[in-house]
């Protein structure tokens, strides 16, 4: 898995190693912060690996890479388009429901006797339609994506149950389920096929976000929609495409999960959306939009996988701890950058700050400049 996607792509001018692909978000201070954020995640991965290997001899084995991949793959796939969605200052909480709907449609059509090769494009089309529906509500009707996708989260999941009911379909052809569950090189190999799928998509989305005109518009829309519009950026089209991508990849993850588990049902993947959002935010993507790097999200996915594995292997540790640690990481990843910023501001102002609290009346002194940097 490429930890730093961006550096593996063209655009590295020889004379500017420090600045290539670096201008996401903004310049030096933020850049260093983003960089150091990714370094921090990488460091935490190392810590998790050390702790994990102390807890269990099984941790640092190829087998645990295989199993962790299977634990994380759907979340990882859906995190890729969601990174772009969040950079554009939107959110899509309907992803796990699209995954479920895709699985339900797959089961229904398979029961109806359609060939599996014909079912795949239909499922993907369903995903695209779901994304387009979200996009329509957000861009054409101007509704906030948080509200829209909370609504469609229920809507799509409900549709999944309408389509398939509470039954499960299990008789999928072995050629395909083996592909989804298989590893490269057959029995002795340890790199799962689906990891390759993820790597390819990660590179595609990484290039799309960081090295294409579309990616530039995603950042601009996320950082300041109005300025983007005043620059001739087609804001609505950008958003629409992002939701469609999100729906497409979610339905792809639905197909993948159904095949991998050889089971189609309407309730698979329930609750995945929160883990996906957590991974993206932990990866250093600003929940307010305009900032973030896909490489950071990939690192965050690795970290989440490592922690989960370590906790499952540890003796006498309840599996509920996984949720607790995930939660702490999510809150921490929002809190820490905030605290750092505040600390910096405090330090910068500490020298001139002479009063403790705002007095009720004006005091009879002259005091230095107030730190309200603003232009007329």
């Amino acid at each position: 898995m490429p930890p730093e996607l961006a550096t593996a792509t063209p655009g590295n001018a020889p004379d500017s190693p420090a600045s290539t692909g670096a201008s996401e978000g903004s310049g030096t201070s933020l850049l260093t912060r983003l960089r150091s954020w990714e370094t921090l995640i990488a460091f935490l991965i190392v810590v998790a690996c050390i702790v994990g290997s102390q807890l269990s001899g099984e941790f640092l084995t190829t087998d645990s890479i295989t199993t962790t991949t299977f634990d994380m793959i759907e979340v990882a796939l859906m995190a890729l388009p969601l990174t772009l969605v969040i950079v554009a200052a939107e959110i899509d909480l309907s992803i796990a429901s699209v995954l479920g709907l895709s699985s339900a449609v797959m089961g229904k059509l398979w029961n109806a006797g359609l060939p599996i090769e014909a079912i795949f494009p239909i499922c993907l089309a369903v995903g695209i339609a779901c994304g387009a529906f979200n996009g329509f509500l957000v861009t054409r009707l101007g509704l906030p994506s948080l509200a829209v996708t909370i609504g469609t989260m229920g809507l799509f999941r409900g549709l999944a149950f309408v389509v398939l009911g509470d039954q499960s379909v299990t008789s999928f052809p072995a050629t395909w389920t083996d592909r989804a569950f298989g590893v490269i090189g057959g029995g002795d190999g340890w790199i799962p096929n689906v990891l390759i799928l993820f790597a390819v998509l990660a590179v595609l989305f990484g290039v799309l976000l960081h090295y294409t005109p579309f990616g530039r518009t995603v950042f601009a829309v996320g950082a300041n929609e109005e300025a983007a519009r005043f620059s001739g950026v087609r804001v609505k089209r950008t958003r629409m495409l992002l939701f469609v991508m999100s729906g497409f990849v979610s339905s792809l993850a639905g197909i993948e999960m159904t095949l991998r588990q050889s089971t189609a049902s309407a309730d698979i993947g329930t609750g995945f959306e929160l883990t996906v959002v957590a991974a993206v935010v932990l990866g250093g993507v600003s929940i307010f939009g305009g900032r973030g790097r896909l490489g950071g999200v990939v690192l965050a996915l690795i970290l989440l996988g490592a922690i989960q594995k370590a906790l499952t292997l540890a003796p006498n540790v309840s599996s509920y701890w996984i949720q607790i640690v995930d939660g702490v990481l999510l809150v921490g990843s929002v809190l820490v950058p905030n605290l750092v910023t505040r600390l910096r501001e405090y330090r910068a102002h500490a020298g001139t700050r002479t009063r403790a609290l705002r007095p009720a009346r004006a005091e009879l002194t002259t005091i230095g400049p107030r730190h309200k940097e603003e232009e007329e």
């Binding site: 500017s16 005109p213 518009t217 950042f219 950082a223 001739g232 705002r358 007095p359 004006a362």
Partner: protein
Amino acid sequence: MSVTTTEIPVLALAGASKSFGAVHALREATLELRAGEVHALMGENGAGKSTLVKMLAGVYRPDEGTVKVDGAAVAFHGPLDARDAGVAIIYQEPTLFPDLSVAENVFMGRQPLASGRRIDRKAMHDQVNELFARLGVELDAERPVRGLSIADQQIVEIAKALSFEARVLIMDEPTAALSGAEVDRLFGVVRTLRERGAALMFISHRLEEVFAICDTVTVMRDGAVTFDGPLAGLTSDDLVRQMVGRDLDALFPKETASVGSQVLKVERLTREGVFTDISFEVRAGEIVALAGLVGAGRSEVARAIFGIDRWDGGSVELLGRPIHNGRPNAAMRAGIGFVPEDRRQQGLVMDLSIARNATMTRTRALAHLGIIRAASERALATEWGTRLQLKYHRLDDPVGRLSGGNQQKVVLAKWLATQPRLLIVDEPTRGIDVGTKAEVHRLISQLAGEGLAVLMISSELPEVLGMADRVLVMHEGRLTGHFTRAEADEERIVRAMSGQTQEVAT
């Protein structure tokens, strides 16, 4: 310098200075407001009036100098301190809660309470009615604010200020949105307050209003006070000279350009309730200025031409081809560049780097096989940075770190890189220091000389007079004046701006 030097001013600024980065918004300003006096504050846009007001309101603190209340130096830590000291500001756009009643707005957050901490509505309404009686106006204290005219809302704001026992009332362009009768009523209230011993400050661009109501005047220019004294004995010309105070030709290096063929043709353009029946043309090599008061609809016309807002009627043609309604992207491809009014919100994405901002309009052209190379992005940004003499540290720095003038150069670079045929600039030099201002003027003039058609919106009359080949004037959404460079003078434009003449010629 003032009328009654013996008396201690209620509120004063002494040698106050304020800078924002490299921009000196206010330089050693001195001002004294006395009880029973109406004081006018005049100056062009960008002269430093609003910085001065914000200092008196406790929003800003002076870098140097002091704010004095009753002759004693104080430090306002925020607007609440200023309010506690008896200073109230009435802004042009009142900020009231539309769904609450008039009385509730006046007593927001400190309603009189009856037993059990219930709000005592009766006491509240009685007190508000008493305030209105003191002001000599009739307003229903129990009705909701929604539906009140701007003028009535201002009265509510004034009542609110009085309920705080304000001794100093600062009114920031209160008459800009009022009709003649409403202005008369406001002036009645102002006179009542003056007689009751309040100190009032009145900011206005309208000379006749200043002469009608004010006793003393302070004129500002480029952040400094150029005149401070009694109004008696002064003429409008004196005030204008103090406000402008410089040789126009020296500051505005206007190149004579040969005017070419028609580039932009706007015909009967209408957006309901915003502007009506706007027709004009801009030719290659020509700078056409669109003048008018704030809110006259100038920026809205520009936004409609560029496709930010839709228009309801009429048409726009560029080089003889119709422009799509409501599509900025199409306008851009057709050859229109738009430097918007609000640089920080509309012109730039402040968090993104200089390079990203400067190349934002050209990402498609920069991409090779769909991939943008950072090197080509930087090359384009560097090219325009050099041509516009942009002062920056690193291209990867966020654009917000540049000074206002340099930010504006990035916006210009962004649009010039698209090689537009028409450049619309909305308040191109607002909030920019004098040096860079001249550079921007020279650049615009030079571009026109090279055959670019320029539509310039400006609230600064010297800029309009110094730069434009033709001047169009708007008032309340309509064109009320059309002058050639030779015909245009301050008086004619100001008259058209206030809607006094219908001088649409040619």
